[in-house]
Subunit: 272 residues, 2 copies
Amino acid sequence: MSETHQNVRKMALADLRQEIRSGRYVSHTAGLGEGFLQTNLVIVPEAHALDFMRYCQRNPKPCPLVGVSDTGDPMMRTLGADIDIRTDVPAYNIYRQGRLEKSVTDIRDLWREDMVAFALGCSFTFERALHEAGIPVWHVENDTTVPMFRSSIETVPAGPFRGKMVVSMRAIDEARVEETVTISRRFPLAHGGPVQVGDPTAIGIADINRPDWGDPAPVAPGQVPVFWACGVTPQVAIEAALLPLVITHKPGHMLITDVPEDAEVPILTTRA
Amino acid sequence: MSETHQNVRKMALADLRQEIRSGRYVSHTAGLGEGFLQTNLVIVPEAHALDFMRYCQRNPKPCPLVGVSDTGDPMMRTLGADIDIRTDVPAYNIYRQGRLEKSVTDIRDLWREDMVAFALGCSFTFERALHEAGIPVWHVENDTTVPMFRSSIETVPAGPFRGKMVVSMRAIDEARVEETVTISRRFPLAHGGPVQVGDPTAIGIADINRPDWGDPAPVAPGQVPVFWACGVTPQVAIEAALLPLVITHKPGHMLITDVPEDAEVPILTTRA
Protein backbone atom coordinates (compact mmCIF):
# COMPACT_ATOMS: atom_id res chain seq x y z
CA MET A 1 0.00 0.00 0.00
CA SER A 2 1.35 3.41 -0.87
CA GLU A 3 1.94 6.03 1.81
CA THR A 4 -0.23 9.15 1.90
CA HIS A 5 1.05 12.73 2.18
CA GLN A 6 -0.52 13.00 5.63
CA ASN A 7 1.33 9.90 6.89
CA VAL A 8 4.80 10.97 5.78
CA ARG A 9 4.44 14.62 6.76
CA LYS A 10 5.97 14.18 10.21
CA MET A 11 8.55 11.55 9.31
CA ALA A 12 12.25 12.08 10.00
CA LEU A 13 14.20 12.82 6.81
CA ALA A 14 15.95 9.42 6.66
CA ASP A 15 12.63 7.53 7.07
CA LEU A 16 10.96 9.72 4.46
CA ARG A 17 13.78 9.01 2.00
CA GLN A 18 13.35 5.26 2.57
CA GLU A 19 9.62 5.55 1.83
CA ILE A 20 10.41 7.33 -1.43
CA ARG A 21 13.32 4.99 -2.34
CA SER A 22 11.20 1.90 -1.79
CA GLY A 23 8.44 3.25 -4.02
CA ARG A 24 5.88 3.39 -1.19
CA TYR A 25 5.63 7.19 -1.40
CA VAL A 26 5.09 8.50 -4.95
CA SER A 27 3.25 11.82 -4.40
CA HIS A 28 4.26 15.49 -4.26
CA THR A 29 6.73 16.82 -1.69
CA ALA A 30 5.24 20.22 -0.75
CA GLY A 31 5.41 20.59 3.04
CA LEU A 32 7.62 17.50 3.51
CA GLY A 33 11.14 17.38 4.97
CA GLU A 34 10.61 20.66 6.79
CA GLY A 35 13.72 22.79 7.00
CA PHE A 36 15.60 20.95 4.25
CA LEU A 37 16.34 22.19 0.74
CA GLN A 38 14.20 20.67 -2.03
CA THR A 39 15.30 20.72 -5.65
CA ASN A 40 14.24 20.30 -9.26
CA LEU A 41 16.05 17.60 -11.22
CA VAL A 42 17.44 17.39 -14.77
CA ILE A 43 19.49 14.41 -16.01
CA VAL A 44 21.27 14.66 -19.38
CA PRO A 45 24.03 12.65 -21.09
CA GLU A 46 27.56 14.00 -20.60
CA ALA A 47 27.70 15.06 -24.25
CA HIS A 48 25.18 17.81 -23.40
CA ALA A 49 26.10 18.40 -19.75
CA LEU A 50 28.48 21.33 -20.28
CA ASP A 51 25.92 23.15 -22.44
CA PHE A 52 23.15 22.49 -19.92
CA MET A 53 25.37 23.69 -17.07
CA ARG A 54 26.17 26.85 -19.05
CA TYR A 55 22.41 27.31 -19.62
CA CYS A 56 21.87 27.17 -15.84
CA GLN A 57 24.75 29.54 -15.11
CA ARG A 58 23.38 32.04 -17.65
CA ASN A 59 19.84 31.82 -16.28
CA PRO A 60 20.41 31.71 -12.53
CA LYS A 61 16.91 32.83 -11.61
CA PRO A 62 14.94 30.02 -13.32
CA CYS A 63 17.80 27.48 -13.01
CA PRO A 64 19.76 28.02 -9.76
CA LEU A 65 22.46 25.29 -9.67
CA VAL A 66 22.44 23.51 -6.33
CA GLY A 67 24.27 20.25 -7.08
CA VAL A 68 25.83 18.31 -9.97
CA SER A 69 26.76 14.62 -9.94
CA ASP A 70 29.93 13.12 -11.32
CA THR A 71 29.39 11.54 -14.75
CA GLY A 72 27.82 8.10 -14.27
CA ASP A 73 27.66 8.43 -10.46
CA PRO A 74 24.03 8.35 -9.27
CA MET A 75 24.92 9.55 -5.76
CA MET A 76 24.39 13.29 -5.14
CA ARG A 77 27.41 13.48 -2.81
CA THR A 78 27.40 17.23 -2.10
CA LEU A 79 23.68 17.25 -1.19
CA GLY A 80 23.47 14.34 1.27
CA ALA A 81 25.15 11.36 2.89
CA ASP A 82 23.08 8.83 0.95
CA ILE A 83 21.07 10.27 -1.95
CA ASP A 84 20.63 7.93 -4.93
CA ILE A 85 19.14 10.04 -7.71
CA ARG A 86 17.76 6.90 -9.47
CA THR A 87 15.30 6.14 -6.65
CA ASP A 88 15.09 9.07 -4.22
CA VAL A 89 12.68 11.30 -6.14
CA PRO A 90 8.97 10.30 -5.85
CA ALA A 91 8.28 10.57 -9.59
CA TYR A 92 10.22 11.28 -12.79
CA ASN A 93 9.34 12.54 -16.28
CA ILE A 94 11.00 10.83 -19.25
CA TYR A 95 11.58 13.01 -22.34
CA ARG A 96 12.59 11.52 -25.70
CA GLN A 97 13.34 13.79 -28.68
CA GLY A 98 11.98 16.70 -26.61
CA ARG A 99 8.60 15.06 -25.97
CA LEU A 100 7.29 13.85 -22.61
CA GLU A 101 6.98 10.08 -23.05
CA LYS A 102 5.82 9.01 -19.59
CA SER A 103 6.17 9.41 -15.82
CA VAL A 104 7.82 6.72 -13.70
CA THR A 105 8.72 6.29 -10.01
CA ASP A 106 12.20 4.79 -10.46
CA ILE A 107 14.87 5.23 -13.17
CA ARG A 108 17.30 2.40 -12.30
CA ASP A 109 16.66 0.82 -15.70
CA LEU A 110 17.33 4.11 -17.55
CA TRP A 111 20.47 5.24 -15.72
CA ARG A 112 23.64 5.03 -17.84
CA GLU A 113 27.38 5.45 -17.31
CA ASP A 114 27.32 8.75 -19.26
CA MET A 115 24.52 10.44 -17.26
CA VAL A 116 24.98 13.69 -15.30
CA ALA A 117 22.34 14.76 -12.75
CA PHE A 118 21.65 18.43 -12.03
CA ALA A 119 19.76 19.59 -8.92
CA LEU A 120 18.22 23.08 -9.27
CA GLY A 121 16.75 25.16 -6.44
CA CYS A 122 12.96 25.41 -6.05
CA SER A 123 10.47 27.93 -4.74
CA PHE A 124 9.36 25.95 -1.67
CA THR A 125 12.22 27.60 0.24
CA PHE A 126 11.09 31.21 -0.16
CA GLU A 127 7.42 30.24 0.18
CA ARG A 128 8.25 28.97 3.66
CA ALA A 129 10.02 32.26 4.42
CA LEU A 130 6.97 34.24 3.24
CA HIS A 131 4.73 32.07 5.41
CA GLU A 132 6.96 32.71 8.43
CA ALA A 133 6.75 36.46 7.76
CA GLY A 134 2.95 36.23 7.82
CA ILE A 135 2.56 36.83 4.08
CA PRO A 136 -0.10 34.37 2.92
CA VAL A 137 0.13 32.75 -0.51
CA TRP A 138 -3.17 31.57 -1.95
CA HIS A 139 -2.10 28.29 -3.58
CA VAL A 140 -0.34 27.17 -0.40
CA GLU A 141 -3.33 28.05 1.82
CA ASN A 142 -5.66 26.29 -0.61
CA ASP A 143 -3.43 23.28 -1.35
CA THR A 144 -3.41 23.81 -5.11
CA THR A 145 -0.47 24.05 -7.53
CA VAL A 146 1.03 27.48 -8.13
CA PRO A 147 -0.12 29.03 -11.46
CA MET A 148 2.68 29.03 -14.04
CA PHE A 149 2.87 30.94 -17.34
CA ARG A 150 5.08 30.89 -20.42
CA SER A 151 6.30 34.50 -20.40
CA SER A 152 7.74 36.60 -23.24
CA ILE A 153 11.10 36.85 -21.43
CA GLU A 154 13.81 35.11 -23.48
CA THR A 155 16.33 33.02 -21.57
CA VAL A 156 20.01 33.27 -22.50
CA PRO A 157 20.73 30.28 -24.77
CA ALA A 158 23.56 27.76 -24.41
CA GLY A 159 24.11 25.12 -27.07
CA PRO A 160 20.74 23.55 -27.92
CA PHE A 161 19.06 24.88 -24.76
CA ARG A 162 16.89 27.97 -25.24
CA GLY A 163 13.33 29.24 -24.89
CA LYS A 164 10.99 31.54 -23.03
CA MET A 165 11.17 31.82 -19.25
CA VAL A 166 8.37 30.13 -17.34
CA VAL A 167 7.18 32.25 -14.41
CA SER A 168 5.04 31.45 -11.37
CA MET A 169 2.53 33.93 -9.96
CA ARG A 170 1.69 34.73 -6.36
CA ALA A 171 -0.84 37.49 -5.52
CA ILE A 172 0.56 39.64 -2.70
CA ASP A 173 -1.22 42.32 -0.63
CA GLU A 174 -0.08 45.69 -1.95
CA ALA A 175 1.26 46.76 1.45
CA ARG A 176 3.53 43.71 1.67
CA VAL A 177 4.98 43.68 -1.85
CA GLU A 178 8.21 45.47 -0.97
CA GLU A 179 8.82 43.13 1.96
CA THR A 180 8.06 40.14 -0.29
CA VAL A 181 10.67 41.30 -2.80
CA THR A 182 13.25 41.76 -0.04
CA ILE A 183 12.57 38.33 1.47
CA SER A 184 12.72 36.46 -1.84
CA ARG A 185 15.95 38.20 -2.87
CA ARG A 186 17.55 36.60 0.20
CA PHE A 187 17.15 33.20 -1.49
CA PRO A 188 19.16 33.27 -4.74
CA LEU A 189 19.07 29.43 -4.82
CA ALA A 190 15.24 29.54 -4.71
CA HIS A 191 14.80 31.84 -7.77
CA GLY A 192 15.69 35.07 -5.88
CA GLY A 193 13.67 38.26 -6.32
CA PRO A 194 10.70 38.48 -8.70
CA VAL A 195 11.17 39.11 -12.44
CA GLN A 196 8.00 41.21 -12.64
CA VAL A 197 5.76 43.07 -10.15
CA GLY A 198 2.27 43.90 -11.47
CA ASP A 199 1.11 44.20 -15.12
CA PRO A 200 1.12 40.63 -16.53
CA THR A 201 0.93 41.93 -20.12
CA ALA A 202 4.40 43.50 -19.74
CA ILE A 203 5.83 39.96 -19.77
CA GLY A 204 3.44 38.59 -22.38
CA ILE A 205 0.74 37.10 -20.15
CA ALA A 206 -2.63 37.80 -21.78
CA ASP A 207 -4.95 36.16 -19.27
CA ILE A 208 -3.87 35.74 -15.67
CA ASN A 209 -6.77 33.38 -15.03
CA ARG A 210 -5.53 30.84 -17.56
CA PRO A 211 -2.11 29.53 -16.48
CA ASP A 212 -0.13 27.26 -18.84
CA TRP A 213 0.67 24.90 -15.93
CA GLY A 214 -0.75 24.50 -12.42
CA ASP A 215 -4.06 25.84 -11.14
CA PRO A 216 -5.55 29.35 -11.48
CA ALA A 217 -5.27 31.52 -8.35
CA PRO A 218 -7.26 34.71 -7.74
CA VAL A 219 -5.76 38.20 -7.48
CA ALA A 220 -8.01 39.87 -4.90
CA PRO A 221 -8.72 43.63 -4.80
CA GLY A 222 -5.76 45.34 -3.12
CA GLN A 223 -3.41 42.61 -4.27
CA VAL A 224 -0.63 42.75 -6.89
CA PRO A 225 0.33 39.79 -9.08
CA VAL A 226 4.04 39.09 -8.51
CA PHE A 227 5.95 36.84 -10.91
CA TRP A 228 9.03 34.75 -10.17
CA ALA A 229 11.31 32.74 -12.50
CA CYS A 230 10.16 29.12 -12.34
CA GLY A 231 11.93 25.76 -12.30
CA VAL A 232 9.74 24.53 -15.16
CA THR A 233 11.83 26.76 -17.48
CA PRO A 234 14.50 24.06 -18.06
CA GLN A 235 11.76 21.61 -19.12
CA VAL A 236 10.82 24.06 -21.91
CA ALA A 237 14.53 24.35 -22.85
CA ILE A 238 14.76 20.54 -22.91
CA GLU A 239 11.82 20.33 -25.29
CA ALA A 240 13.61 22.80 -27.58
CA ALA A 241 16.87 20.82 -27.43
CA LEU A 242 15.31 17.66 -28.95
CA LEU A 243 17.77 15.31 -27.20
CA PRO A 244 17.26 11.54 -27.49
CA LEU A 245 16.78 11.13 -23.70
CA VAL A 246 16.39 13.57 -20.80
CA ILE A 247 15.01 12.72 -17.36
CA THR A 248 13.51 15.30 -14.98
CA HIS A 249 11.49 15.16 -11.76
CA LYS A 250 7.73 15.22 -12.23
CA PRO A 251 6.68 18.81 -11.32
CA GLY A 252 5.96 19.12 -7.59
CA HIS A 253 7.70 15.79 -6.89
CA MET A 254 11.07 17.15 -5.80
CA LEU A 255 14.35 15.79 -4.47
CA ILE A 256 14.56 16.40 -0.71
CA THR A 257 18.21 16.96 0.28
CA ASP A 258 20.12 16.84 3.59
CA VAL A 259 21.09 20.52 3.14
CA PRO A 260 19.44 22.90 5.62
CA GLU A 261 17.18 25.36 3.85
CA ASP A 262 19.04 28.32 5.38
CA ALA A 263 22.55 27.09 4.49
CA GLU A 264 24.72 29.83 3.00
CA VAL A 265 25.94 27.44 0.27
CA PRO A 266 24.22 24.18 -0.74
CA ILE A 267 27.30 22.03 -0.13
CA LEU A 268 27.35 19.69 2.86
CA THR A 269 31.11 19.34 3.07
CA THR A 270 32.03 23.04 2.88
CA ARG A 271 32.57 24.88 6.14
CA ALA A 272 29.68 27.20 6.95
CA MET B 1 54.48 54.49 -22.91
CA SER B 2 52.38 52.44 -20.54
CA GLU B 3 49.59 54.00 -18.52
CA THR B 4 49.92 54.30 -14.74
CA HIS B 5 47.33 53.26 -12.16
CA GLN B 6 46.84 56.91 -11.21
CA ASN B 7 46.10 57.93 -14.83
CA VAL B 8 43.43 55.30 -15.50
CA ARG B 9 41.74 55.53 -12.10
CA LYS B 10 39.13 58.03 -13.23
CA MET B 11 38.62 56.72 -16.75
CA ALA B 12 35.19 55.69 -18.02
CA LEU B 13 34.82 51.92 -18.26
CA ALA B 14 34.94 51.81 -22.09
CA ASP B 15 38.12 53.91 -22.20
CA LEU B 16 39.73 51.85 -19.47
CA ARG B 17 38.99 48.65 -21.41
CA GLN B 18 40.62 50.14 -24.53
CA GLU B 19 43.74 50.98 -22.53
CA ILE B 20 43.90 47.38 -21.30
CA ARG B 21 43.04 45.87 -24.72
CA SER B 22 45.72 47.90 -26.48
CA GLY B 23 48.36 46.78 -23.97
CA ARG B 24 48.96 50.30 -22.67
CA TYR B 25 47.69 49.42 -19.19
CA VAL B 26 49.21 46.21 -17.78
CA SER B 27 49.03 46.74 -14.00
CA HIS B 28 46.64 45.67 -11.21
CA THR B 29 42.96 46.62 -11.19
CA ALA B 30 42.28 47.36 -7.50
CA GLY B 31 40.24 50.56 -7.27
CA LEU B 32 39.56 50.71 -11.03
CA GLY B 33 36.18 50.56 -12.80
CA GLU B 34 34.39 51.71 -9.66
CA GLY B 35 30.98 50.14 -9.23
CA PHE B 36 31.57 47.33 -11.72
CA LEU B 37 32.10 43.65 -10.93
CA GLN B 38 35.68 42.41 -11.29
CA THR B 39 36.49 38.74 -11.74
CA ASN B 40 39.16 36.08 -11.59
CA LEU B 41 39.79 34.17 -14.83
CA VAL B 42 40.46 30.52 -15.64
CA ILE B 43 40.65 29.20 -19.23
CA VAL B 44 40.74 25.42 -19.83
CA PRO B 45 40.22 23.21 -22.90
CA GLU B 46 36.66 21.89 -23.34
CA ALA B 47 37.82 18.37 -22.45
CA HIS B 48 38.25 19.57 -18.86
CA ALA B 49 35.59 22.30 -18.76
CA LEU B 50 32.75 20.21 -17.29
CA ASP B 51 35.01 18.97 -14.48
CA PHE B 52 36.27 22.50 -13.80
CA MET B 53 32.71 23.85 -13.77
CA ARG B 54 31.70 21.08 -11.32
CA TYR B 55 34.71 22.02 -9.18
CA CYS B 56 33.45 25.63 -9.05
CA GLN B 57 29.85 24.57 -8.31
CA ARG B 58 31.08 22.37 -5.43
CA ASN B 59 33.32 25.09 -4.01
CA PRO B 60 31.16 28.19 -4.38
CA LYS B 61 33.02 30.22 -1.74
CA PRO B 62 36.50 30.12 -3.31
CA CYS B 63 35.16 29.75 -6.90
CA PRO B 64 31.90 31.70 -7.36
CA LEU B 65 30.88 31.24 -11.02
CA VAL B 66 30.07 34.59 -12.61
CA GLY B 67 30.34 33.87 -16.34
CA VAL B 68 31.28 31.08 -18.75
CA SER B 69 32.06 31.50 -22.45
CA ASP B 70 30.85 29.29 -25.25
CA THR B 71 33.53 26.85 -26.39
CA GLY B 72 35.94 28.66 -28.71
CA ASP B 73 34.17 32.01 -28.35
CA PRO B 74 36.49 34.60 -26.75
CA MET B 75 33.65 37.07 -26.10
CA MET B 76 32.22 37.03 -22.55
CA ARG B 77 28.70 37.79 -23.79
CA THR B 78 26.83 37.64 -20.48
CA LEU B 79 29.30 39.98 -18.76
CA GLY B 80 29.52 42.84 -21.22
CA ALA B 81 28.70 44.22 -24.66
CA ASP B 82 32.28 43.92 -25.93
CA ILE B 83 34.60 41.88 -23.69
CA ASP B 84 37.30 39.92 -25.54
CA ILE B 85 38.89 37.62 -22.97
CA ARG B 86 42.08 37.31 -25.10
CA THR B 87 43.00 40.97 -24.62
CA ASP B 88 40.83 42.60 -21.96
CA VAL B 89 42.68 41.42 -18.84
CA PRO B 90 45.85 43.43 -18.01
CA ALA B 91 48.03 40.35 -17.42
CA TYR B 92 47.70 36.55 -17.67
CA ASN B 93 49.50 33.55 -16.14
CA ILE B 94 50.29 30.60 -18.42
CA TYR B 95 50.37 27.16 -16.75
CA ARG B 96 51.78 24.11 -18.53
CA GLN B 97 51.61 20.67 -16.85
CA GLY B 98 50.51 22.42 -13.66
CA ARG B 99 53.53 24.74 -13.55
CA LEU B 100 53.51 28.51 -14.01
CA GLU B 101 55.52 29.06 -17.19
CA LYS B 102 55.25 32.83 -17.60
CA SER B 103 53.07 35.95 -17.42
CA VAL B 104 51.90 37.72 -20.59
CA THR B 105 49.66 40.69 -21.39
CA ASP B 106 47.77 39.20 -24.35
CA ILE B 107 46.77 35.60 -25.20
CA ARG B 108 45.62 35.95 -28.82
CA ASP B 109 48.38 33.55 -29.92
CA LEU B 110 47.36 30.93 -27.32
CA TRP B 111 43.56 30.99 -27.77
CA ARG B 112 42.17 27.86 -29.45
CA GLU B 113 38.82 26.69 -30.82
CA ASP B 114 38.40 24.29 -27.87
CA MET B 115 38.95 26.85 -25.09
CA VAL B 116 36.33 27.71 -22.44
CA ALA B 117 36.78 30.82 -20.27
CA PHE B 118 35.45 30.97 -16.70
CA ALA B 119 35.00 34.26 -14.81
CA LEU B 120 34.92 33.83 -11.01
CA GLY B 121 33.87 36.47 -8.47
CA CYS B 122 36.56 38.32 -6.48
CA SER B 123 36.86 40.00 -3.11
CA PHE B 124 37.10 43.59 -4.36
CA THR B 125 33.30 43.75 -4.22
CA PHE B 126 32.88 43.10 -0.51
CA GLU B 127 35.98 45.12 0.34
CA ARG B 128 34.25 48.13 -1.19
CA ALA B 129 31.14 47.37 0.89
CA LEU B 130 33.27 47.16 4.07
CA HIS B 131 34.91 50.46 3.18
CA GLU B 132 31.49 52.08 2.71
CA ALA B 133 30.41 50.77 6.12
CA GLY B 134 33.45 52.46 7.67
CA ILE B 135 35.25 49.20 8.42
CA PRO B 136 38.90 49.80 7.47
CA VAL B 137 40.98 47.01 5.92
CA TRP B 138 44.73 47.36 6.44
CA HIS B 139 46.00 46.18 3.04
CA VAL B 140 43.61 48.52 1.22
CA GLU B 141 44.56 51.52 3.37
CA ASN B 142 48.26 50.70 2.91
CA ASP B 143 48.10 49.77 -0.78
CA THR B 144 49.61 46.31 -0.32
CA THR B 145 48.33 42.90 -1.48
CA VAL B 146 46.02 41.02 0.90
CA PRO B 147 47.84 38.23 2.80
CA MET B 148 46.84 34.77 1.51
CA PHE B 149 47.45 31.37 3.11
CA ARG B 150 47.20 27.75 2.06
CA SER B 151 44.72 26.47 4.71
CA SER B 152 44.06 22.92 5.90
CA ILE B 153 40.48 23.07 4.55
CA GLU B 154 40.04 20.51 1.76
CA THR B 155 38.03 21.59 -1.26
CA VAL B 156 35.47 19.20 -2.77
CA PRO B 157 37.22 17.55 -5.73
CA ALA B 158 35.86 17.23 -9.29
CA GLY B 159 37.76 15.21 -11.88
CA PRO B 160 41.46 16.17 -11.69
CA PHE B 161 40.74 19.39 -9.75
CA ARG B 162 41.40 19.20 -5.99
CA GLY B 163 43.48 20.69 -3.20
CA LYS B 164 43.49 22.84 -0.09
CA MET B 165 41.47 26.04 0.04
CA VAL B 166 43.47 29.26 -0.15
CA VAL B 167 42.17 31.89 2.27
CA SER B 168 42.75 35.64 2.54
CA MET B 169 43.04 37.41 5.91
CA ARG B 170 41.67 40.76 6.99
CA ALA B 171 42.13 41.96 10.59
CA ILE B 172 38.84 43.43 11.86
CA ASP B 173 38.16 45.42 15.04
CA GLU B 174 36.49 43.04 17.50
CA ALA B 175 33.40 45.27 17.80
CA ARG B 176 32.80 45.20 14.04
CA VAL B 177 33.32 41.47 13.37
CA GLU B 178 29.64 40.53 13.46
CA GLU B 179 28.75 43.36 11.07
CA THR B 180 31.63 42.34 8.79
CA VAL B 181 30.30 38.78 8.63
CA THR B 182 26.79 40.05 7.81
CA ILE B 183 28.03 42.39 5.09
CA SER B 184 30.22 39.81 3.37
CA ARG B 185 27.47 37.17 3.41
CA ARG B 186 25.44 39.57 1.25
CA PHE B 187 27.95 38.98 -1.57
CA PRO B 188 27.87 35.25 -2.43
CA LEU B 189 29.56 36.04 -5.78
CA ALA B 190 32.44 37.70 -3.91
CA HIS B 191 33.28 34.69 -1.66
CA GLY B 192 30.36 35.28 0.78
CA GLY B 193 30.82 35.05 4.56
CA PRO B 194 34.19 34.15 6.14
CA VAL B 195 35.29 30.51 6.48
CA GLN B 196 37.02 31.20 9.81
CA VAL B 197 36.84 33.93 12.47
CA GLY B 198 39.84 34.05 14.84
CA ASP B 199 42.33 31.22 15.68
CA PRO B 200 44.44 30.75 12.53
CA THR B 201 45.73 27.37 13.75
CA ALA B 202 42.18 25.92 13.53
CA ILE B 203 42.56 26.06 9.74
CA GLY B 204 46.20 25.04 9.64
CA ILE B 205 47.89 28.45 9.57
CA ALA B 206 51.01 28.24 11.75
CA ASP B 207 52.34 31.79 11.38
CA ILE B 208 49.96 34.61 10.50
CA ASN B 209 52.93 36.90 9.75
CA ARG B 210 54.15 34.65 6.93
CA PRO B 211 51.52 34.50 4.18
CA ASP B 212 52.02 32.08 1.27
CA TRP B 213 51.01 34.81 -1.22
CA GLY B 214 50.65 38.60 -0.91
CA ASP B 215 52.10 40.82 1.79
CA PRO B 216 51.98 40.39 5.60
CA ALA B 217 49.38 42.56 7.39
CA PRO B 218 49.35 43.27 11.13
CA VAL B 219 46.61 42.12 13.52
CA ALA B 220 46.48 44.97 16.03
CA PRO B 221 45.45 44.57 19.70
CA GLY B 222 41.64 44.45 19.83
CA GLN B 223 41.46 43.03 16.31
CA VAL B 224 40.44 39.54 15.17
CA PRO B 225 41.93 37.83 12.09
CA VAL B 226 39.05 36.95 9.76
CA PHE B 227 39.58 34.51 6.89
CA TRP B 228 37.69 34.33 3.59
CA ALA B 229 37.83 31.76 0.80
CA CYS B 230 40.15 33.14 -1.88
CA GLY B 231 40.14 33.16 -5.68
CA VAL B 232 43.71 31.82 -5.75
CA THR B 233 42.22 28.42 -4.74
CA PRO B 234 41.53 27.38 -8.37
CA GLN B 235 45.17 28.09 -9.25
CA VAL B 236 46.20 25.49 -6.63
CA ALA B 237 43.62 23.07 -8.10
CA ILE B 238 45.03 23.73 -11.58
CA GLU B 239 48.55 22.89 -10.38
CA ALA B 240 47.19 19.59 -9.02
CA ALA B 241 45.38 18.79 -12.28
CA LEU B 242 48.62 18.78 -14.36
CA LEU B 243 46.84 19.83 -17.57
CA PRO B 244 48.93 20.58 -20.68
CA LEU B 245 47.73 24.21 -20.82
CA VAL B 246 45.66 26.43 -18.52
CA ILE B 247 45.50 30.22 -18.62
CA THR B 248 44.50 32.40 -15.66
CA HIS B 249 44.62 36.09 -14.86
CA LYS B 250 47.74 37.24 -13.05
CA PRO B 251 46.67 37.71 -9.39
CA GLY B 252 45.36 41.22 -8.79
CA HIS B 253 45.05 41.85 -12.56
CA MET B 254 41.34 41.13 -12.92
CA LEU B 255 38.74 41.25 -15.67
CA ILE B 256 36.57 44.36 -15.24
CA THR B 257 33.01 43.59 -16.44
CA ASP B 258 30.02 45.75 -17.45
CA VAL B 259 27.95 44.17 -14.66
CA PRO B 260 27.09 46.54 -11.79
CA GLU B 261 28.68 45.38 -8.54
CA ASP B 262 25.29 45.32 -6.80
CA ALA B 263 23.47 43.35 -9.53
CA GLU B 264 21.33 40.56 -8.11
CA VAL B 265 22.63 38.15 -10.76
CA PRO B 266 25.79 38.66 -12.86
CA ILE B 267 23.99 38.39 -16.19
CA LEU B 268 23.53 41.51 -18.29
CA THR B 269 20.60 40.23 -20.32
CA THR B 270 18.46 38.91 -17.46
CA ARG B 271 15.77 41.20 -16.10
CA ALA B 272 16.67 42.55 -12.65
